[in-house]
Symmetry: C2
Subunit: 342 residues, 2 copies
């Protein structure tokens, strides 16, 4: 029953009439309960319940020049990594009065900028953007967004406002170190998409090799094509073509790693003895594969939840904790695919 006789939605006025008070009082009962008497509050609550009143978000946003939406901009939908972040975001928002407005930039900074501009028109309660590689114009927009802004998926020295993520560079170095410590002497790199985040991982890979005095040779193989399991197989095949000495691969993500593993099996390469494989993100399948595949665990769901929490805190917070950076870290998950022993 959220329509009245004329089949029009129940408005706040209907509730006010039912109780015999002014709309202002009903509005206050909802937004500022502490200034309304207990007696009225319970009558109003009862009327809301019996009439099935639900506030009109547009009217609320217009009148208060502030909407209850948290705007989220991610690069991609189909990428599981972001799905997990979304999952965290949604579950953190659930039960609060906020809702999520989602936009996809398709990895295009310009389209991200437009989305930011568009979303800002809604005067969102908060904003979550991916990474730190916004255009200058986008940076400027975020700078006076008028709401808490969280950058997710990375950590860095100069957050706009809030930030939660981990260091792709450090994670890649750690993974590379793991390979080397397992005795692999000629590790290669398989990269796809190669957006700024992936670039930082490549950077970490290279620096770690350099630090250990290992020449990367021709073993860094990347493409700008979007990643897929199939692509992982192709990349490995190509890499082995130009650099047959490769004895291990650090893959930019788990799809690539899985595809590379299948390709290795097709070639009857023994994993981990002849080829070590390490993925990135540690999706659920990595531990279930045969052999189980080493990966770098990242806390994607937690990133989403944490981002929302940062916004909620900033919104509630008497002390706005601007400039806060949360480093969720990462965790190398060593599995059979790199367990060569020495």
């Amino acid at each position: 029953m959220n329509k009245n006789k004329e089949n029009k939605p129940v408005t706040m006025r209907d509730v006010a009439q039912e109780v015999g008070v002014s709309v202002a009082t009903v509005s206050r009962a909802l937004r500022n309960p502490e200034v309304v008497s207990e007696a009225l509050k319970s009558k109003i609550a009862a009327a809301i319940e019996s009439l099935g009143y639900l506030p009109d978000p547009a009217a609320r946003a217009l009148a208060s020049t502030r909407s209850d939406v948290i705007a989220v901009i991610l690069p991609s939908i189909s990428n599981n990594v972001f799905a997990a972040v979304m999952d965290g975001i949604y579950s953190a928002v659930e039960g609060t009065r906020y809702s999520v407005q989602l936009g996809y930039s398709r990895y295009a900074p310009l389209s991200e900028e437009n989305l930011i501009r568009l979303f800002l028109r809604q005067r969102p309660a908060g904003m979550i953007v991916t990474g730190i590689d916004q255009t200058d114009a986008a940076q400027a927009l975020l700078a006076d967004a008028g709401c808490p802004v969280v950058q997710v998926m990375e950590t860095g020295p100069a957050p706009h406002d809030l930030m939660i993520g981990f260091s792709h560079y450090d994670a890649a170095r750690a993974a590379t170190a793991h390979l080397i410590e397992q005795g692999y002497r000629n590790p290669g790199f398989l990269g796809a998409r190669m957006d700024p985040r992936t670039q930082r991982r490549l950077h970490g890979f290279r620096d770690e090799l350099r630090a250990r005095g290992i020449d990367e040779g021709r073993r860094v193989h990347t493409t700008t094509r979007p990643s897929s399991v199939t692509l992982g197989g192709h990349l490995l095949a190509e890499l082995l073509g130009v650099a047959p000495e490769t004895d291990a691969i650090f893959c930019i993500n788990d799809d690539i790693a899985l595809g590379a593993m299948f390709e290795a099996q097709r070639r009857n390469l023994r994993i981990p003895d002849e080829l070590g494989i390490c993925g990135f993100n540690d999706m659920e399948m990595m531990g279930a594969a045969e052999p189980p595949i080493t990966s770098v665990r990242t806390f994607r769901r937690e990133m989403g939840e944490g981002a929302v929490q940062l916004i909620l805190d900033a919104l509630a917070g008497d002390v706005p904790e601007a400039g806060k950076v949360v480093d969720l870290g990462f965790q190398i998950m060593p599995r059979r695919s790199t367990m060569r022993g020495r």
Copy 2:
């Protein structure tokens, strides 16, 4: 430059003043271009451009009692299947004046009902819901939603309004038939989650066996747990425990199939000779696996795109095509994992 001197957003009034016309004219230039003179239209467009005006969606929604959002309710984020549908939805919406409002029901009909109620408050331009298993209350809500409603992921005899999908029952029967035609005599069924859609697939599996005079024995193994690759392995292990005669499995989705494949490899079962494996949905990895895994291809992206298109058409359409059902069908993708030959 979408803020004026006082750092307030540029409103329609600013545009009107710039051009020297009333706000009404600006509004009409945007909503009803055909009633405004060419001269004014171009001056208004220029002013909008130079001022960087962007309409306030809340004000628009409030005044027109109609918002430009298409509300979408899906059961889950993390499930790749729905990510693909979303992908289609977003890409079809891109470039139109509509935006997407997304909600997740977590497979809970009650929470779906609440979402529908909530979203309807926004007077959406259209609504996309998953499947046909809404609660009675939800059905009632949809019945007078006041906007086009599309049910996706299924086909069925009695759509609410619009519908686009395929028959899970038919697809499962076809997959089962494929297994039998490949010479498997004791096919089993591995199911997870077991929501209504999955139930219909199980139904198809059973009916096909019955039609062929094959006893299912104890080879139907299901759980309500959410599916995962790991679970696929467990399910196969359990199934083989109670029904060692199983020579093929029809898996409720590709994750389960992949997990089962890994488990089979762990047990040194020869695929496809000793065990045939068929998945469902035909995600990208299936063709890349080693061996490649047979699956039932479904048109998920197309479902999302099609759903939006149906709404757009209904919105534009002078002739509302209510009751339209689009069957996108499915396609068996036979691969090595079931190629036993005779």
